[in-house]
Every structure is written in structure tokens, then in C-alpha cells.
Symmetry: C2
Subunit: 116 residues, 2 copies
DNA sequence: CTGATGGTTAAGCACATCGTTAAGTATTGG
DNA sequence: CCAATACTTAACGATGTGCTTAACCATCAG
């Protein structure tokens, strides 16, 4: 099913928090346990747990428990759709900018300065 | 100038909503007025206005009012930082995946694969 | 001036988020 | 067994989000 829309919702929303982005960045270098991930932050461990849940629900990270230790890792292709969405929007936007500049060049000589 | 953190927060959170992404996608093709932007959606116009405010606060779009008509357009480089963040995280994550595969190859014989 | 058009503001409601503390469940080491 | 370790769950409060409706400007046409 092409439920891209809701997938992207949860991915972008998950990335809309500095703590979670830091966690993802950390995990992109190597896997880590819950307490390792929580260590750099000043918030409580349950708070970090909730962030990890959000990231896992968005499909950005995955985890498995061995004994009493849960280890998290990034999910390889998880950022692909988000990255492509941004790229796909940027492309026409830049074309739009080019057309705007071309239009201005046509209707006015190159303005060396702006005044208001 | 290194407010990257909070900037990215607002950009990613702004993108974490399908309506707002649709608006950005629409504007990436050409500028549009408030009512033009609101038309495709079933929600009320004030609701769309609020989405536009979020997008404008995140620096993704800009607007100007002429007479009684407000026109929105995308802000050219606005998605650059977000795109780069994703790219920067994906790169080490993929290296991590490569190392994992190499590790598995070392500890288990190459899986029987059909060559093409 | 008068009304229609295009947008804006205000208030309110349901629900989600982000943090807290307190208490509970498995493991593991001695 | 006992206690420390490593989470995990539950409950809750402060804010934030995403809508709604109602009312309020500010143009522009006639």
C-alpha cells in the first residue's frame, strides 16, 4: 500500500525534535543501548524511552532485547522517502526561481543594487 | 547563526503534516493566493491560514499582500539544511550497513546466490 | 454608499507531545 | 536468596497542535 502520506507524517514529525535527531545521528554511527543513548541528555530515562518509541514507530530505528539490555540501531532505508520528497520539491522550486530570474532580466536591466 | 537546531525543529515539524507538504508542493510549482491554496482542501479557510503561518514561521514560504490578496511563494534555499541533515545522517548509516554485511560475510560463508 | 470578495482574528475544544515521578519487571552477579 | 542493574509501565500536568465557528477588517465593483 502506498501510504506514503502517513509514513512521511511520522518520519518528519519524529525528526522535528532535536533530541530525536541527536539520537538518530548517534545511532547512524553505531548501535547503542538505551542507557548509552540516554547518557548525553539531561532528561530522565523514561523521557528518552518515549523518544525512542516515537523513532521506532516512525520506522527510523529498530531494537532488540538480549537479556535485560535493549539495543537500538538505525533502519537502513528509512530516510529515503523523506530525502526524496525534499529533493522532489526542491527541483521544481529551483526551476521556478530560474524562471523568475529570467523574467526579471527580460523586463529590467541587471540591477546592481536594491533601494526602498 | 548556528541556530541550526531550532531551525531544523521548525522545518521538520512543519513538514510533518500532509496538508502542509501538499501546500509546499503546490507552491514549488508556482505562487498562489490564500484561497487558491485552500481550495483543494476540505477544511475551513482559517485552518489553512494557520498551516500557512506555520510554514512561514519555519521559513519555508513567504507572502506579500497586494490590495486584499495575499500571495504565497516558496523560499528558495529553505529546504537545504533539512536535506543536508538527512544526507549527512544517511551516509554514515550506509557505511554502518556495509560494515555489518562485511562482518557477516566474515563469520559465515557467502550465501548461495543466483548470479544475474 | 452598499454589498460582495478575500482575508484575518478570536475563542474554544479535542487530542497529542514532552516532560516529570513513582513503582514495577526482568535479568544478572555475589 | 538478595540486591543491583537495565529497562518498562503508569499516571499526571503543562503546553502545543489542528481543527471548528463567529465575527471582524479591508478592498473593489457598481
Amino acid at each position: 500500500m502506498l501510504n506514503h502520506q502517513e509514513d512521511l507524517d511520522s518520519v518528519f514529525r519524529a525528526l522535528g525534535d532535536g533530541t530525536r535527531r541527536a539520537i538518530v545521528a548517534r545511532l547512524s554511527r553505531s548501535a547503542a543501548t538505551v542507557s548509552e543513548l540516554a547518557a548525553p541528555f539531561e532528561m530522565s530515562l523514561p523521557a528518552v524511552l518515549q523518544h525512542l518509541k516515537v523513532l521506532e514507530a516512525a520506522g527510523l530505528v529498530a531494537s532488540q532485547k538480549v537479556g535485560r539490555v535493549r539495543t537500538f540501531r538505525v533502519v537502513p532505508g528509512a530516510l529515503e522517502d523523506a530525502g526524496r520528497w525534499i529533493a522532489d520539491v526542491r527541483t521544481p522550486a529551483e526551476r521556478l526561481l530560474d524562471r523568475l530570474e529570467a523574467h526579471l532580466d527580460e523586463h529590467a536591466p541587471p540591477p546592481p543594487e536594491e533601494s526602498s
